[in-house]
């Protein structure tokens, strides 16, 4: 597996190492999945990164700052349900921190509307439709393999090639299927939902701000 970034970010920086390439990709492809439902019209709440971190009660919990240059190209998807975006001076909602109480109702509405949006439903469907059947399949395949050792020892003993018998072949296949499913899952996530999820993440955070 190739390593995209080999150097660790500097001390204290909270560099989101995949935000930059993804944001650049969004800029070059304005028709990326979450943008389809975008309803432009809300001003893009761009603030300098310094002001944002100054307003945040806990700098460590603040979301990583996306490249500011990329922001105007990608207007946030604001579903019509949301009446108004929180004023830019409000601190970003940090759940579980005491600051969350300030705009609880606002953030609840934002989350509800994002959850109802088609973009989110797409992400959820592509995640669940891959993960649930696959999990069932590999758990079933593993448990069948373990049960077969107990239930059908005769079959497991029958020789296949050289000193290998059925039990060894099935065991090595478990290794192979684990590696294969890992690769398939990563490919599915990378191609089907990563970009859409990232776009929705910035949109949601913009609305929460």
């Amino acid at each position: 597996m190739p390593q995209q970034q080999t150097s660790s970010p500097g001390q204290g920086q909270r560099f989101d190492w995949w935000a930059a390439p993804a944001a650049a990709a969004t800029a070059s492809e304005p028709t990326a999945a979450p943008r389809r439902t975008a309803v432009p019209g809300q001003p893009v709440p761009t603030r300098p990164a310094a002001a944002r971190s100054a307003a945040a009660p806990e700098p460590v919990a603040a979301p990583p700052a996306p490249p500011v240059a990329a922001r105007p190209v990608a207007p946030p998807a604001v579903p019509p349900l949301v009446p108004a975006v929180a004023p830019p001076s409000a601190p970003p909602v940090v759940p579980q921190a005491s600051a969350a109480a300030v705009s609880t109702t606002d953030s609840t509405e934002v989350y509800r509307s994002v959850q109802a949006s088609a973009a989110f439903q797409d992400i959820r469907r592509s995640y669940r439709s891959f993960v649930f059947p696959t999990s069932g399949a590999f758990l079933g395949w593993y448990l069948m393999y373990v049960a077969a050792e107990a239930a059908a020892p005769g079959v497991m003993r029958s020789p296949v090639a050289g000193p290998l018998n059925v039990a060894w072949v099935l065991g090595l296949l478990q290794f192979a299927s684990t590696f294969l499913l890992t690769w398939l899952y990563a490919r599915n996530a990378r191609t089907k939902r990563d970009r859409a999820a990232l776009g929705l993440r910035w949109d949601t955070q913009d609305q929460l701000r």
Binding site: S8, Q11, W18, Y111, A150, P163
Partner: protein, 558 residues
């Protein structure tokens, strides 16, 4: 357990009765490892002492680094020495173990890693608390995490005691006792001074050493057999004392129906337990994004899988070149199979190569033990300070205001408590380990996995995926898995009624299996379901919307 005390047919002269010199070298290397890890702790520990540094290592590790750290946390001495030893003694049945340990990572990768990274901040209970804002949920999940890590910790320290004593060539009770105390003291130092950042770096160094040592031995082994792995298997079967049965299932677990059922129970616990281990889950908070968490899990799967493939080869090699009888003679559980194999591969007893390789592998095993106990202590102290103390105790009703508006302790206070908790939990683990020295290490690890799968996994999966899940369901699910698991073990042959039991003199066992997973895991899921159905208040759809959006998109992630 079928004994294979067959004819003693070793390929080489017995490599036992080690001369004093390779223990001398081993002691030097042990000291080097202690000094290097302490150096890392002191150096890295100065880099920051905020809660984010202590619990999550500043969240700026790369996927590759975290992948190494994950496999370092996961590949305990029980894996390195235990699995290879089981294969050396029981052939195919040892292989079964390693497969359960590996397949479990698919659960982590697909269902847990990314969502937990997005939805939580420091611990497992954070994910639940995001949705079910109840003190009781936090207390239950935090308590279960402490129990799981403590069980796992005791397993590692008991193993460390016997192992280090064995590697140093003494088998006295005093050596074991002092080893446990020293390992415990070291882990307290690592965690209290270095926090997550130092622990992670120790895991990375250890995982690198472990993989490098395994690769070195495997290459030497394959060269020895001229690349003919079938010949390796055949020679292993010849020198196992069991013949062809060595390569077939059933040598260890095939005797009775009960023992087969026990193995199935263990297999279930292994595959479902990993995703509920607190020290594995907290590793996902050390990377910046969910995608990084996914990529670190993929690295871990590659490293763990490759390691287990090598462990199979090394186990076979130990049988082929050392002989099962000799391995068993050196240690009844087979724990010294790999060091003995290293001695033979390096040129045999008395040769410089053999001595160096033996000392090197022993030192790697020692580093493995130190790193794993440090990771466990950290996870345990985080669960105590963040969930039980700050989340549940300081937040209790009657303390200024209601649950939601109560003044929370500052994160600085929390970290101070966590450092003290690390000391307290470490001390408790030392004391328990001293009294639990006769317990079987593999059993304790299997039990920790069973408890994690019964109490932590159901509540985590329900919270992430079931929209109607309620706070009562969460509490019931944690206790509904935890309590049966503990109770069944108490009434199992492990505690009473057999010669190797904790209390060999009495017999009050009625549960036939050693591993409770096959009963307690379904009970955990069932209790969560019933608790939700009987809940007086319905689930809050707003909270679930927040959890779902945050978990899948990463919005507002810490």
């Amino acid at each position: 357990m079928t004994a294979t005390t067959g004819v003693l047919t070793t390929a080489t002269p017995p490599p036992v009765a080690p001369a004093g010199q390779h223990h001398g070298l081993a002691i030097v290397l042990f000291a080097v490892i202690v000094l290097v890890t302490l150096g890392i702790t002191l150096w890295v520990g100065r880099q920051g002492s905020a809660a984010e540094d202590f619990y999550a290592g500043g969240r700026d590790f790369t996927p590759l680094q975290n992948g190494f750290a994950l496999s370092g946390d996961y590949l305990s001495a029980a894996s390195f020495l235990g699995v290879a030893g089981l294969i050396a003694l029981y052939g195919y049945d040892g292989v079964l173990y390693s497969i359960g340990f590996l397949v479990a990572w698919l659960v982590v990768l697909m269902l847990v890693a990314e969502l937990v990274r997005n939805a939580g901040r420091y611990t497992l209970a954070d994910v639940l608390a995001l949705r079910l804002r109840r003190r009781r949920v936090r207390a239950a999940a935090g308590g279960a995490s402490v129990v799981v890590t403590l069980l796992y910790l005791v397993a590692q320290m008991v193993g460390a005691g016997s192992l280090v004593a064995l590697l140093l060539g003494t088998n006295s009770a005093q050596a074991r006792t002092w080893t446990i105390i020293a390992v415990g003291a070291l882990m307290i130092v690592y965690v209290t001074i270095g926090g997550m950042r130092a622990t992670t770096w120790i895991q990375i160094v250890k995982a690198f050493l472990l993989i490098a040592g395994s690769v070195l031995l495997t290459v030497l082994l394959v060269v020895r057999f001229h690349g003919d792995l079938f010949e390796l298997m055949r020679q292993a079967a010849r020198h196992s004392g069991a013949g062809q049965r060595y390569l077939e299932p059933g040598l260890k677990y095939g005797a009775t129906f009960t023992s087969r059922l026990d193995f199935f129970s263990l297999g279930l616990a292994l595959v479902l337990g990993t995703a509920g281990l607190p020290h594995i889950l907290s590793r996902f908070y050390t990377v910046p994004t969910a995608r990084a968490a996914r990529r670190s899990t993929m690295w871990a799967i590659g490293l763990v899988g490759g390691f287990y493939l090598m462990a199979i080869a090394l186990g076979l090699g130990a049988t082929a070149l050392v002989g099962s009888a000799e391995v068993r003679h050196a240690n009844a559980a087979g724990n010294t199979a790999v060091p003995l194999l290293a001695l033979v591969l390096g040129g045999g007893n008395g040769s410089t190569g053999g001595v160096v390789l033996f000392a090197l592998i022993s030192a790697i095993a020692f580093a493995t033990i130190l790193a794993v106990v440090a990771g466990l202590t950290l996870a345990s102290s985080a669960a105590f300070a963040h969930d039980i103390w700050a989340g549940a105790w300081r937040n209790r009703p009657g303390r200024r205001g209601t649950e939601r508006t109560a003044e929370k302790p500052s994160e600085q206070q929390e970290v101070v408590v966590a450092r003290f908790a690390a000391g307290g939990i470490g001390a408790a683990a030392i004391v328990i380990s001293l009294y639990a020295q006769q317990l079987n290490v593999a059993f304790l690890v299997g039990l920790a996995f069973a408890v994690a799968a019964s109490s932590n996994l159901p509540v985590l999966l329900y919270s992430l995926f079931w929209s109607r899940f309620t706070a009562r369901g969460a509490v019931w699910s944690v206790y509904g898995g935890l309590v049966p698991a503990i109770v069944l073990v108490f009434f199992s042959p492990v505690v009473s009624g057999s010669k190797v039991a904790l209390f060999p003199g009495v017999d009050f066992h009625w549960f036939p299996l050693e591993n409770p997973g096959i009963v307690s895991i379904p009970l955990g899921f069932l209790a969560g379901w019933i608790g939700t159905l009987t809940s007086p208040e319905p689930a809050d759809p707003d909270r679930f919307a927040e959890l779902e959006v945050r978990a899948l998109t990463g919005a507002g992630a810490a």
